[in-house]
């Protein structure tokens, strides 16, 4: 299903999060919204989802005006940065939630819900973990439960907010490739937000570079790399190409730690 936003503006008090943004995403695309923090990318994603309202303009889903349709009727799969799993529910219950809350006449039978959940658990490679609770899972596993939960309602589009932002570097690289293959298999129109250039360029079929509440450039990774449209895009992609700049701000992962020990340096805390 295609997504189109027209002339979207959003103010939070005196702060402009989005300033007249237009964007069209075709059916089956995997698009990345890339930009520094505060560039408005997450707000745009939340407006597409219906989690946030827009001050002006329209959101079209599959060519139909969805601006005033509440999120619970939009059928969008939303994956939150910090997973937002229901902490008191098992993995199984989490994934089944979207089916269980449907009105009785639209709700699938218990057996078909069970089948659907097991199918999704297989899809995200968590078979056999249905009885666990979110607290008993690793970050990467939680993120995949969140994805399975979003896919359970057979969403028309999949929206992911910094899907790998809270994970450590190696898991992030693994999941990146996995998300790309999942998209190739399901072909669901997907949009993900990231501030990591490497992630955007590696996973997305098209990249939307954002800065200061506006879109700087839209293009395939190759186009953006070879012909940056503005000095900002050139600078932003130029920063030593990738997640390293971000990672250096994070506490050392296990790999850094091991290296630190090998060279005899005291591990940073």
């Amino acid at each position: 299903m295609s997504i189109e936003v027209q002339n979207i503006t959003r103010q939070f008090g005196a702060y402009t999060a989005l300033d007249g943004v237009d964007l069209k995403i075709e059916t089956g695309e995997l698009v990345s919204l890339l930009g520094p923090s505060g560039s408005g990318k997450t707000t745009l994603l939340r407006i597409i989802a219906g989690l946030e309202r827009t001050d002006t303009g329209r959101v079209l889903l599959h060519g139909e005006d969805a601006t005033d349709i509440p999120i619970r009727e939009r059928r969008v799969g939303f994956v939150f940065q910090h997973y937002a799993l229901f902490r008191h529910m098992s993995v199984f219950k989490n994934i089944a939630f979207g089916l269980n809350v449907r009105p009785r006449r639209e709700r699938p039978s218990k057996a078909s819900i069970r089948n659907r959940v097991h199918e999704l658990l297989r899809l995200v490679q968590l078979d056999g973990l249905g009885d666990r609770y979110p607290a008993q899972l690793s970050g990467g596993q939680r993120q995949r439960v969140a994805l399975a939960r979003a896919l359970a309602i057979e969403p028309r589009v999949l929206l992911l907010d910094e899907p790998f932002g809270a994970l450590d570097a190696r898991v992030r690289r693994d999941l990146r490739g996995w998300l790309k293959r999942l998209h190739e298999e399901l072909h669901i129109t997907s949009v993900f937000v990231t501030h990591d250039q490497e992630e955007a360029l590696e996973v997305a079929s098209r990249v939307v570079v954002m800065n200061h509440a506006r879109i700087e450039q839209i293009g395939t990774p190759a186009e953006i790399l070879s012909r940056p449209a503005t000095p900002f895009v050139r600078d932003f992609l130029g920063q030593d190409r990738g997640g390293e700049s971000v990672e250096s701000l994070r506490p050392p992962g296990r790999a850094d730690f091991a290296l630190g020990l090998l060279t005899g340096a005291a591990p940073r805390s």
Partner: protein, 290 residues
């Protein structure tokens, strides 16, 4: 899809359970001894005194005192007041905490302050406010009299005063927890198609169930034990508008010590049950957050 992703939860190092920094033995014993002595004098001895005084003339006198019609009426009224006040404050507390914890709106900090008001003012003032409003010389007292509605010096006044005094307990327990949990899970629920009621019932409330129970227990203890506010609006009519704490006072003032302490021992028992429930709830909630 055939990609093998090997993900392993990060092993957490076992936390040291005993500190390596310890004081000398005599310092430790001195501090522990002082703390224990304090507990015995200020908490344990009074509790023992209540029960010994109550049973001074034997179990027979104890049960006779409790079987007295006025005492039974006081017990009944105490339960009635709590049975009305606690559920109402439960509903109010959940609603207020939900609004404050999950949404932002103008006047939010004013609402938080207002919720604390019953804690901030003296219970006697709380009672006087109702006398000023509903009493014969009060604002709507004459109207109430003309329509034959009795609030002050009657059961409705006692229930109102109890509700007011126990107003903050549930909300106070829930607000910090709900604020800490944020609204991500609620947003996820709505994005999955849940309506407001389903979100509250299946996501928000289960996440705060132990805090909720804790608040209800404390609210109930206070509702049954409240003295000041209820005393002002009660009128102390024996067998009609005396709650258990008021009844204890009357008996004591009449030098009927055995009966006074027998009734007081019921309140002390209530306190012990409350503490036991509270400890149970705390240990369960700790297990679940681990």
């Amino acid at each position: 899809m055939s990609a093998a992703i090997t993900l392993k939860p990060l092993a957490t190092a076992p936390r040291p359970t005993t500190s390596t920094i310890e004081e000398a033995a005599w310092v430790r014993w001195l501090l522990i001894g002082a703390a224990l002595a304090f507990l015995v004098v200020f908490l344990f001895l009074p509790l023992v005194a209540v029960f010994t005084e109550a049973l001074r003339k034997g179990a027979g006198a104890f049960f006779t005192a409790l079987g007295d019609p006025d005492a039974r009426a006081a017990i009944r009224l105490t339960f009635i007041a709590a049975a009305i006040a606690v559920p109402l404050n439960l509903v109010f507390g959940v609603a207020a905490a939900w609004a404050i914890g999950k949404f932002s709106f103008p006047g939010k900090s004013l609402l938080i302050t207002l919720i604390d008001l019953p804690f901030a003012v003296s219970p006697v003032i709380s009672g006087l406010v109702y006398v000023l409003l509903f009493g014969l010389q009060g604002w709507i007292g004459p109207w109430l009299r003309d329509h034959d509605v009795k609030i002050i010096f009657a059961v409705p006044g006692i229930v109102l005063a109890t509700i007011f005094v126990t107003f903050p307990f549930v909300a106070r327990e829930l607000i910090p927890l709900m604020q800490a949990q944020g609204s991500d899970e609620e947003q996820a629920a709505v994005s999955l198609g849940a309506n407001g009621w389903q979100t509250l019932w299946h996501v928000t409330l289960p996440n705060v169930k132990w805090a909720l129970l804790y608040g209800v227990i404390l609210c109930n203890a206070r509702a049954m034990g409240e003295f000041g506010a209820v005393s002002v609006v009660s009128g102390h009519i024996r067998g009609e508008t005396n709650t258990l704490p008021l009844h204890v006072e009357i008996l004591y003032n009449e030098y009927n010590f055995v009966a006074a302490f027998a009734c007081a021992s019921l309140l002390a028992l209530l306190a012990l049950v409350t503490l036991a429930l509270k400890a149970f709830v705390e240990s369960r909630s700790r297990q679940e957050t681990l």
